[in-house]
Symmetry: C2
Subunit: 215 residues, 2 copies
């Protein structure tokens, strides 16, 4: 059982690169091998199958990006502080790993059930439980009259949407609005404060949630 050998690290680096770009179905074992500077048989020597190699990469991503998020959500900070922290956190995470959102989405769509156990597991630090905590905090802040009445679940989705979406549609932005790489970086950088401001203004507003449409 090899552990942390130079070869294994090179394989994981290559696999991460290829899987992130192409997803499970689109990735080719030969391409990963070539990217790692070895041949395909050796790849199977270290990781028995494509599936096992993929799971290494997916779990690694999961373990890398979740703990910090859980720390933020579970802290004693105020709602405003949390909203600002989450925005900064996503900004840093996605600037360093731009392909992460699409990778997760693709994986979840290609193989929904295999990942369900991981996401749904009822252990401490479980994301669902953390989201539940944040929802309670939102509910309390609303009852105290700090913010207008709203559905906590709705707010959480909005927070994540505003922070993650630009990275998901980055290719659209670059082709449709002619946004170059440096433009995107400037844009994303500006949003790391503009987004929490936008959210905080929204939840302080006076329009109740259930207002019917006027068009």
């Amino acid at each position: 059982m090899p552990h942390d050998s130079a070869t294994e690290i090179r394989i994981l680096d290559a696999a991460r690169k290829v899987f992130y770009q192409k997803g499970f179905g689109g990735a080719r074992m030969d391409e990963i091998a070539q990217e790692a500077g070895i041949n395909k048989a050796l790849l199977h020597y270290y990781f028995r199958s494509k599936q096992q190699l993929f799971e290494h990469i997916f779990n690694e991503a999961y373990d890398r990006f979740l703990p910090e998020m859980i720390r933020v959500l579970g802290s004693e900070a105020s709602l405003e502080e949390k909203i600002r922290s989450i925005s900064l956190y996503y900004h840093n995470l996605l600037t360093e790993n731009p392909l992460l959102p699409i990778f997760v989405l693709k994986s979840l769509q290609e193989n929904p059930d295999a990942l369900a156990l991981r996401l749904g597991a009822d252990r401490p630090g479980n994301p669902a439980r953390m989201v539940g905590m944040l929802m309670r905090q939102i509910g309390e802040a609303v009852e105290e009259g700090k913010y207008k009445a709203m559905d906590p679940q709705n707010l959480i989705i909005n927070i994540i949407a505003l922070n993650v979406f630009p990275f998901i549609i980055r290719p659209v932005l670059s082709r449709m609005m002619g946004m170059k790489d440096e433009d995107f970086i400037t844009f994303a950088d500006m949003r790391k404060t503009a987004v929490p401001n936008f959210i905080l203004d929204a939840i302080k507003g006076d329009t109740p949630d259930a207002l019917p449409p006027q068009v």
Copy 2:
């Protein structure tokens, strides 16, 4: 050259279904043929190659969902009316075609350049031009003092993000937060008014865009 024959329609229905679910790379010609109740050779008889069949489906999606959006953006309505209209429009579109966003994202990532010409073409009704018009309208409304100072591009991304994102992460919602199909429909239905209210409160708020983070 066959046109609109019953077989061709069955093929397009089948291709739409399979391509939407699995993307270009994941789709199998045999599966499309079986779904259409014919065999693979006939598929190639109607559409010479997988690539051509795929482009039919992609262009069809593009032509179906864009004109109405352009009509909304190009109308004489006020900014508030447009924001409400866009939210309703996305809600209807994505409720009827839940797989559309992921299909577009996947396609754009798999084959970015082939679709660039379509998105970037400088013809009237070109999306980039419509977005430009909306950006000018936002800028004017801000100058009139109706809303706080903000970056128009930022607002457009926020509008789209809040409307589209829930449909993109629907699989996450169902597994992580235990949201059943009927729950999601209720949730999305509520958002079609909650989202424009959220946005309008946000842009009426008093926090300037450039406030530095406080955490």
